[in-house]
């Protein structure tokens, strides 16, 4: 097991004096705490009582004509370009046939009981690189959960993640291979890009609970089963910013929450990156649908 936050290891390898300077400079000192929580979390059962839980389903629609995306100029990477019969288009805004807006990250932002903490899922979330694109483009993971970056192109990619709360990384994948990383701290969102192929970008939402989802082509996302109560749900889109809505979960019911975005929002959208999320408690955020 290789820890991402290697200050502890540095202490063993280097002298104490060096350690002090180096960890201070690296800026990842306090992140080490995340590891212990993860280790503790693995023995923990989910605190959600399924007998009383209810679900949340989100639906994100796009109003109006979907904007036309630019073509991606893959001429510099013929091996990728050869995979496409049509011209590959940018995927900043992907609207389904039914008007659903895909690649929206929807998550519970507020309302979880204080003290509620969730086990880290054992399975990894996979972000593949196919035809010089990230598939999927937007993913949500739980803090500490493995995120597998997969290279299926067989040509060099690098994965340059620049989070704000977590420690960034910049790893290369010269051939077909998998690389696992995880983010120990919650933040929405973490931008990921490939420096070899300037058009390749993706986003990772990191939360310390499992109640999140990414909309599919129909605009729907399932946020999972939660304890009954009032929640604030936020939808995040890379171009149009965020919207929030409040929703009440009752036992055995699936609450619906819907959002709608339009091209007009792009003009003055604030797209949060690297925002730390504390899902416990209420009040920090105004309730009701709201456009940033």
């Amino acid at each position: 097991m290789r820890d991402l936050f290697g200050c502890g290891r540095a202490m063993v390898m280097a002298t104490a004096a060096v350690f002090a300077i180096a960890c201070g400079g690296g800026g990842g000192g306090e992140a080490g705490g995340g590891m212990e929580e993860e280790a503790a979390g693995e023995e923990m059962a989910s605190p959600v009582d399924m007998a009383t839980a209810g679900g949340i389903n989100a639906m994100v629609m796009f109003e109006g004509m979907a904007p036309e995306m630019d073509a991606i100029d893959m001429a510099s990477e013929p091996n990728c370009a050869a995979r496409y019969t049509d011209t590959p288009m940018a995927e900043e805004v992907v609207v389904g046939d039914g008007g659903g807006l895909a690649n929206v990250f929807v998550y519970v932002r507020e309302g979880l009981d204080a003290g509620m903490s969730f086990p880290t899922p054992g399975g990894a979330v996979v972000m593949d690189q196919v035809g010089c694109r990230y598939v999927p483009r937007v993913v949500g993971v739980q803090a500490g959960q493995d995120l597998t970056f997969r290279n299926s192109d067989g040509l060099p990619h690098n994965i340059n993640a620049s989070p704000s709360e977590n420690r960034g990384f910049n790893i290369s994948q010269p051939v077909n291979m998998d690389t696992n990383r995880n983010f120990p701290l919650a933040e929405v969102m973490v931008p990921v890009r490939c420096d070899v192929h300037g058009w390749m970008s993706a986003y990772v939402g990191v939360l310390d609970h499992p109640f999140h989802g990414v909309t599919a082509m129909d605009g729907s996302a399932d946020l999972g089963m939660l304890p009954p109560g009032d929640y604030v749900v936020e939808a995040w889109h890379e171009r149009y910013g965020t919207q929030t809505a409040s929703v009440t979960v009752t036992t055995g019911e699936t609450a619906m929450v819907s959002f709608s975005f339009s091209e007009a929002m792009a003009a003055n959208a604030v797209v949060p990156m690297g925002e730390p999320i504390d899902p416990h408690g209420h009040g920090a955020h105004a309730l009701g649908p709201e456009t940033h």
Partner: protein, 230 residues
């Protein structure tokens, strides 16, 4: 394993190649003579028991000779190098009719912008490409080389062009290709993890072809890029 340079396709080629071969000949002669003498002396004056080596401490005449001759030789090489160096690197040497380009280097791409038909960069008809540079043959091009992040080095082996891109600096690079074809672009300065992928292609067109390319880019800027390039 060859000491011959690959064929050059720019106006710098003859100068650089001449200097290279001149130095190759001079150093080659010195190399052969010195190594041969070394081997000859080792064999000729090998150990003979009961015999003493010749007791000599040196010769001022010899010292003077082998100080002045190399001195003149290397200064000669330096002075014949100066004009070519000035032609290649001095911004004043760029021909007035050169086409303007901007190359913006970043990890790990060359973003190449051609000034377009109006000949001025920073206007709407600029044509940007990634890693693929399009230039006309027998026409000087004037590149403003920049970098966004770290050092890169713009390397056109067949054009005998190499220049580091330094963030915060605008560096002038120019060359004039003398034959149409496709030539490699390389990055010659370690620029990060995937430095190795920072290659590209220089497409040198005949004048008419180049105009056609410019026209196709301007006419249909949205989606024509890659069909054209493929």
């Amino acid at each position: 394993m060859s000491w011959m340079l690959p064929e050059s396709f720019s106006t710098f080629g003859p100068d650089v190649d001449f200097l290279y071969y001149a130095i190759l000949v001079v150093t080659g002669i010195v190399f052969v003579i010195t190594e041969a003498l070394l081997v000859y002396f080792v064999i000729r004056y090998r150990r003979r028991d009961g015999q003493k080596a010749t007791y000599i401490h040196g010769s001022t005449k010899a010292e003077i000779i082998w100080t002045t001759v190399p001195f003149i030789a290397v200064l000669g090489l330096a002075f014949i190098s100066i004009p070519s160096w000035n032609m290649m690197k001095n911004p004043d040497s760029v021909p007035a009719d050169a086409l303007d380009y901007i190359i913006n280097a970043k990890q790990f791409e060359w973003e190449i912008t051609y000034a377009g038909t109006d000949g001025v960069t920073g206007t709407a008809d600029d044509i940007s490409t990634i890693n693929i540079m399009h230039v006309p043959v027998n026409q000087a091009v004037n590149i403003t080389l920049r970098s966004e992040d770290v050092l890169h080095s713009f390397f056109l082996p067949e054009m005998r062009v190499k220049q580091d891109a330094v963030p915060g600096m605008d560096i002038t690079v120019w060359f004039e290709a003398t034959a149409a074809g496709a030539y490699p672009i390389g990055c010659a300065e370690l620029c990060g993890n995937l430095h190795t992928t920072m290659g590209g292609t220089l497409n040198v067109y005949e004048a008419a072809e180049f105009e056609a390319w410019v026209a196709s880019q301007s006419a249909d800027a949205d989606d024509a890029d890659d069909q054209e390039d493929q």
